[in-house]
């Protein structure tokens, strides 16, 4: 009977997620951009990096939908390859960093004591370290940071801030009456964490995963924009870097620098919509008001 209720609850949860308009639009936006790009990279006859693949500086035409760049590359092909790799790096980095931060946040906030002191100190040090400077340092020294390395580095420096916020959230939850009641009634710590703490943090978790993806993608594109990106693959920041170093502004090549900007903006918008939608679902106080 209890199991049935749980399964029903989950199904209901899924239905709520699909029915939420913001999540639906956001999810569609991101998925369409990702899979659209993925499919186009498979069908496109051109190469994203090969110089002189097509005639240079062509305006957009049926053959080259976004035109070609001054190095003789098809811009739409470039854009699609770039989009796919940027999204992959962002999601991979976010998943890694978020796993670290939620585990540490619960450990620190829930168990307290020495565990908390040590974790808080490490977190503090990581927040304090100018991570972008270190990222730049690593990228500058090794010259070429490939995409998977980029994801690992971003995750390594990205977990600390969400961890601090989530820890504060756990701390404040722990002081609430219902957690104290659960503990007093002899519920096991693990059960309290899984059934009381985590569900109550869902809005925060959802929002912070979205932030983590957006943050990783933003940091990645930023590094690449100032010329510290991968040398052998193309991503949205790398495209922006090519466009700015080859003076796309002054040459009026708006078809070169604007599309990567727009794609990044739409991905960010989509992720933001998903996070807002999740917030509405996860926060029962909001739901009750609707």
């Amino acid at each position: 009977m209890i199991m049935d209720n749980r399964i029903m609850g989950k199904l209901k949860g899924l239905k709520v997620i699909v029915e939420n308009k913001k999540i639906f639009i956001g999810l569609c936006l991101v998925l369409v951009i990702y899979f659209g790009s993925l499919i186009y990279t498979r069908v496109s006859p051109y190469s994203p990096r090969k110089i002189g693949d097509v005639p240079v500086n062509m305006p957009s035409s049926p053959e080259y939908p976004l035109g070609t760049d001054p190095m003789g590359r098809d811009i739409l092909t470039q854009l699609c390859y770039a989009t796919v790799s940027s999204i992959q790096v962002g999601v991979a980095a976010a998943m890694m960093s978020f796993t670290i931060s939620i585990l540490l946040a619960i450990l620190a906030g829930y168990y307290g004591g020495y565990v908390d002191s040590v974790i808080s100190m490490v977190t503090e040090v990581f927040i304090t370290l100018p991570s972008l400077a270190i990222l730049i340092l690593i990228a500058a020294v090794f010259g070429r940071v490939e995409l998977h390395m980029m994801a690992i580095i971003l995750a390594f420096f990205g977990w600390a801030f969400p961890c601090k916020i989530l820890r504060a959230q756990v701390l404040s939850l722990k002081e609430r009456g219902f957690i104290k009641l659960a503990l007093l009634s002899g519920t096991h710590n693990l059960e309290v964490i899984i059934r009381e703490i985590i569900p109550n943090m869902l809005p925060f978790i959802g929002v912070w995963i979205a932030f983590a993806i957006v943050g990783a993608m933003g940091a990645q594109a930023g590094l690449e924009l100032i010329g510290l990106g991968p040398q052998t693959s193309v991503s949205l920041g790398v495209m922006l870097n090519w466009a700015t170093t080859l003076a796309a502004f002054t040459r009026g090549l708006i078809n070169w620098w604007l599309p990567p900007c727009l794609v990044l903006m739409f991905i960010f918008l989509g992720v933001a919509l998903i996070s807002v939608g999740l917030d509405e679902i996860g926060n029962p106080k909001l739901k009750a008001r609707r």
């Binding site: 002191s117 503090e124 040090v125 730049i136 340092l137 500058a140 909001l286």
Partner: protein
């Protein structure tokens, strides 16, 4: 309220954090293979200079103590720190690190402090207004679109925004200069000089303000909406308190707390400048200095800048932690 023990513990933790960060700060640049002096010469050779013997390199390495073992270098570093001496910059040799930082710091602080304050104030006002109007579905279409706009703005990285603004305002409509902090030919002290500073700072400041307003207002709005569901607000309403009073005394006060924490953290990070923004606009601030230092493997300069960042950020965090229990009694030591 917190106890004396909490105070001591927090301060001890601050000192541990600071010394850990300083040690990491010393160590990380040195873990990287290759000496900065050799890097510098390799760069000169690439540019067409020819090179004599290697004793020249050795002489320079001696000058910066790079020939010594790590622990000796660390000793020099710490004793230099304690006497307030950060040493010479490697890539801008005759200048000292302090000089370079002091030259860049006013630009960064002026730009970032002003734009942070503007965006914080506007963001809090806008966010609490949006959150308050959302209560009982009084949100108008107009508010909904402002909300969507700030949601959008808070989530795009500012350099994208910067690129579009630069394109519009310097290439299509050439209203503002692109790059640099000031026209180099102007005489300090004249009106033109200050106007030039303002004109150069306008675009980067505008980018920061617009993007940050979105961030601040989104978080205030989100928090406010979740606070609005709390029972004590229901009680306040049931007591018959005026809406205005409920808003300012009951709802916003609870929301402002995390915002003040965030503001303090942001203020702490100001000294680091904004690396990407400053290099996109080639603004003569700390971020740009750090970027150039990193590209040239200038250990002493990197350390000097990161030291300042580390110091301000940890101190800001200490101040927050000492104030937080005073503001929110739910968190604190028993």
């Amino acid at each position: 309220m917190y106890t004396f023990k909490y105070l001591i513990r927090r301060i001890v933790m601050y000192l541990i954090t600071l010394s850990l960060a300083i040690s990491l700060n010393f160590l990380i640049p040195r873990l990287i293979p290759g000496s900065p002096i050799q890097q510098k010469f390799a760069e000169l050779i690439r540019m067409g200079e020819t090179m004599g013997g290697t004793e020249f390199i050795e002489k320079y390495e001696k000058l910066f103590n790079l020939d010594q073992p790590l622990q000796v270098q660390f000793f020099y570093y710490i004793s230099g720190l304690l006497s307030g001496n950060l040493g010479f910059s490697i890539s801008y040799f005759p200048s000292t690190v302090i000089d370079l930082i002091m030259k860049a710091l006013p630009w960064t602080i002026g730009l970032l402090f002003t734009s942070l304050m503007i965006s914080f104030t506007c963001g809090i006002l806008l966010g609490s207004l949006m959150g308050w109007l959302k209560r009982e579905g009084r949100e108008s279409k107009w508010m909904e679109s402002i909300w969507l706009l700030s949601l959008f703005l808070s989530n795009i990285p500012f350099y994208i925004f910067a690129m579009i603004l630069v394109f519009l305002l310097t290439f299509i409509f050439p209203l503002f200069p692109y790059g640099g902090g000031i026209d180099p030919l102007l005489v300090p002290g004249t009106i033109d000089y200050y106007i030039s500073i303002l004109r150069h700072a306008f675009l980067p400041a505008l980018c920061i303000v617009i993007v940050q307003i979105g961030g601040w207002s989104m978080s205030v709005r989100g928090l406010l909406v979740s606070v609005l569901g709390e029972d004590y607000l229901f009680l306040a309403k049931a007591k018959g308190l005026k809406e205005r009073r409920i808003f300012s005394r009951y709802a916003v006060r609870n929301v402002l707390l995390p915002q003040v924490t965030d503001l303090a953290i942001s203020l702490g990070t100001i000294t680091g400048g904004s690396i990407i923004m400053e290099s996109v606009f080639s603004y003569p601030g700390i971020g740009n200095l750090l970027f150039r230092a990193v590209k040239q493997l200038d250990y002493t300069l990197i350390q000097g800048i990161t030291l300042i960042i580390v110091f301000t950020v940890t101190t800001a965090a200490l101040i927050i932690d000492l104030f937080y229990p005073l503001l929110d009694p739910r968190i604190g030591e028993k």
